[in-house]
């Protein structure tokens, strides 16, 4: 039996097994409606899966975003077939009662052989045939794993690889989102490893990006933890060797964990500015007056002494009282400020009185040579104010240097510094609407890559990130989010966001991510590449394609 009725006859070219149905309506903005072919079961469908729509003159690619049950007439719904009547159910399913797939058109490819995928500007005609996208079609769109693309995972139910464009990824700031326990860290490690690897493969020095990772929980340097079996996976250093240096903020922790480090990073008192406190205002429970007081104190005592002086102020001491009066600082403000500063500085071995700038110079030296830096926080990782302070202080100084060098290069003196990607976790703390305007991170996100610095933000609460900053995040890699606000935040300003919501909310809690934005030609849901098994390392190192990598791998075993 080749056809059921005139309307349901199919063209001979497409294998019946791939045919999904027929376009019956929709729009460019709301997505297409596709009537599911009667021989296909609605239960096989999955939101997030790719389809190909054969228009008259061009081919369209789209993503299933929703599945809906409908009936041609209400009568059959008023008198539905008996559940035991398998025959009647089979007959009615797909005819009187049928399923509609909502498909968001994403790309189109003109009919010619060498045509490149382009964004859609129209929809396929009525009754265009819709079928599952083949592996080759998807592979063609996402490109091959080459010098400028790296594998991030596979689309749902497909074996082909989805690649991110390295060049586009480093061009702008990017974000990795997802609630805790969804595999953000694994994904980040995977991406960082490939960014560093691809940077090494670039012939053009201008395209070699370096990374600075503020590694809150010691996940990226030597080894990372793994919830579940085994517990340990390799970090970036064992996989990438000399392309990475690991620094530490906590020598004790590094020694305890038995991991070597290149430099122990310290922060000197004179490197801390009142602006750094502004960022910490919320985290340290500082009042606005306290932050303003810090600025006064900074002006009065100078960069070298202001922190020590503030900590030593005693509001019962007459000299101190006089000084505070002169500055017009209220006693409660100074109490509040001091309490915050004490919390910030107490038991911080990395805080030193003097010698500021040494660590920044050490980091810069590596970065400018093209070596990525992972800064492990050791025990301070659980101390959010410490993490924010260090990330803020170091980034501010590094950014200053980058700005200086970039401007010099524009003036014809020296070269541009290598493109820098700074990875921060708990990003919403740095980029919340209250502080995004003041922090260096907000500035970096907004100025785009003017000074060759971009961010890779990792966060579980994207809704807490300033809207303007979020809108500058070019590629969003999103694991499962279930908070409505967070989903809104990630999809804000994305075309077809209403449809993508359904996809995002239905991700599995592990190893699945929705990727959208600059570095992919169309939004894609991927099963992320597995990371952590011997196979995965071997695969990665094979991609490195060098004998040294193989040697390195063996050495590690």
């Amino acid at each position: 039996m080749t056809s059921v009725n005139g309307a349901q006859a199919f063209s001979g070219e497409v294998p019946l097994s791939l045919r999904l149905g027929t376009v019956i309506g929709g729009s460019l903005t709301r997505g297409l409606e596709v009537r599911l072919a009667p021989e296909r079961s609605v239960e096989e469908m999955a939101a997030g899966r790719y389809v190909t729509i054969q228009g008259r003159t061009q081919k369209f690619f789209g993503m299933i975003t929703d599945v809906e049950l409908r009936a041609t007439s209400d009568a059959v719904l008023r008198a539905p077939p008996d559940p035991d009547d398998a025959f009647l159910r089979e007959v009615l399913t797909g005819t009187t009662a049928y399923a509609v797939l909502k498909v968001m058109p994403l790309l189109r490819v003109a009919g010619t052989a060498d045509a490149k995928p382009e964004p859609v500007k129209t929809v396929p005609a009525h009754f265009s045939e819709v079928r599952e996208a083949t592996q080759q079609e998807v592979a063609q769109i996402f490109g091959d794993d080459d010098d400028t693309h790296f594998v991030i995972g596979s689309p749902l139910d497909m074996e082909v690889k989805v690649c991110l464009s390295y060049e586009r990824f480093i061009e702008r700031s990017n974000g990795i989102f997802g609630k805790s326990g969804t595999g953000k860290t694994f994904l980040t490690r995977h991406i960082l490893a490939h960014l560093i690897q691809k940077a090494g493969a670039q012939r053009d020095a201008k395209k070699r990006a370096v990374n600075l990772v503020f590694d809150m929980h010691n996940e990226y340097g030597w080894e990372g933890s793994y919830e579940g079996l085994g517990g340990k996976v390799k970090g970036l250093k064992p996989l990438l060797g000399n392309a990475v240096v690991v620094m530490t903020l906590d020598e004790d922790s590094s020694r305890r964990r038995g991991v070597p480090y290149d430099t122990a990073v310290t922060i000197a008192h004179d490197e801390i500015e009142p602006d750094d406190l502004a960022v910490l205002q919320e985290t340290l429970n500082l009042t606005q007056n306290a932050v303003e007081a810090a600025q006064q104190l900074f002006r009065r005592y100078g960069r070298q002494r202001w922190l020590r002086a503030t900590l030593e102020l005693d509001e019962n001491d007459e000299d101190s009282k006089r000084a505070l009066n002169e500055m017009g600082i209220h006693a409660s403000s100074i109490l509040n400020l001091r309490r915050g500063l004490l919390r910030l500085t107490r038991n911080k071995d990395f805080l030193v009185e003097s010698g500021g700038g040494r660590s920044v110079q050490a980091i810069l030296k590596h970065l400018l040579r093209g070596t990525s830096v992972v800064l492990e926080f050791g025990r301070y990782g659980n101390d959010l104010p410490a993490y924010m302070l260090v990330a803020n202080v170091l980034t501010r100084r590094i950014h200053e240097e980058y700005r200086r060098r970039t401007e010099a290069a524009q003036g014809g003196h020296g070269d541009d510094p290598p493109h820098l990607i700074i990875t921060i976790e708990e990003a919403h703390k740095f980029l919340s609407p209250q502080v995004a305007r003041q922090t260096i991170f907000g500035e970096i996100a907004r100025e785009m890559r003017k000074y060759h610095v971009t961010l890779l933000v990792i966060d579980q609460r994207p809704s807490a990130i300033d809207e303007e900053v979020l809108s500058q995040i070019a590629t969003k890699i999103t694991c499962l989010l279930d908070n409505e606000k967070d989903i809104d935040a990630v999809l804000g300003g994305v075309s077809g966001s209403r449809e993508l919501r359904a996809v995002l909310a239905k991700l599995e809690s592990k190893q699945q991510a929705l990727i959208l934005g600059h570095a992919v030609p169309m939004p894609v849901v991927v099963r992320t590449e597995e990371y952590g098994s011997t196979d995965s390392y071997a695969r990665f190192l094979r991609r490195l394609g060098s004998a040294t990598a193989d040697d390195l791998y063996r050495a590690e075993e």
């Binding site: 059921v4 009725n5 009667p38 007439s73 009547d85 025959f87 005819t95 009187t96």
Partner: protein, 206 residues
Amino acid sequence: MNEPAHADGAGSIGRVLEATISRFTCVCHALDGAPPLGTLVLVFEGGPAVYGVVADIRTQSIDPGRPLTPRGGPEDDRETVLAQNPQIPALLQTAFEAIVVGHRRDGGVRRYLPDSPPRIYARVRACTAAETAEFFHGFEFLPLLLAAGPLADQVIAACLRRAAAAMPAHPRAFLVQAGRALAHELAEEPERLAAVFGQIRSVAAG
């Protein structure tokens, strides 16, 4: 063009004695010689072959002016009455009415009305299983049967049951396909649909 098979008359069950574009009456060669309700028959001479589905069967007096009168007493069974009146069968004829559901043209099946009605005195035969299977590859003829009058649903059910029997390999798959085509036609009349399905379900279950 025309159906060459059986041109020698083998399998012929009767002749067309009355024809319109949508139905024809065939008088059988033999008394009670009509094919069962719902059978696919073929007018195989006198122009393009025309397919019909048996929709009504009647046996009556040859001379409409002389209707049969009751014979025999209450105690006589049918055999006895016929034995006492051996002339009766000669006074009777069996005729069936068929709904036109398609025709053949250019060597293929067309499941819609022909250009002209079957010719009077053209011979008619029942379709073979292979011909039946060939015809029921498509269901574009369903509207013709659905419009066939008060018994249409009975006729369709009978027709589908018989067609399923001609496809021993996959009668159920056939009935599902047919059912879907029918559901498409009767989308606004689910009660009617259910009534037809009620009559073919037992076949489908088997």
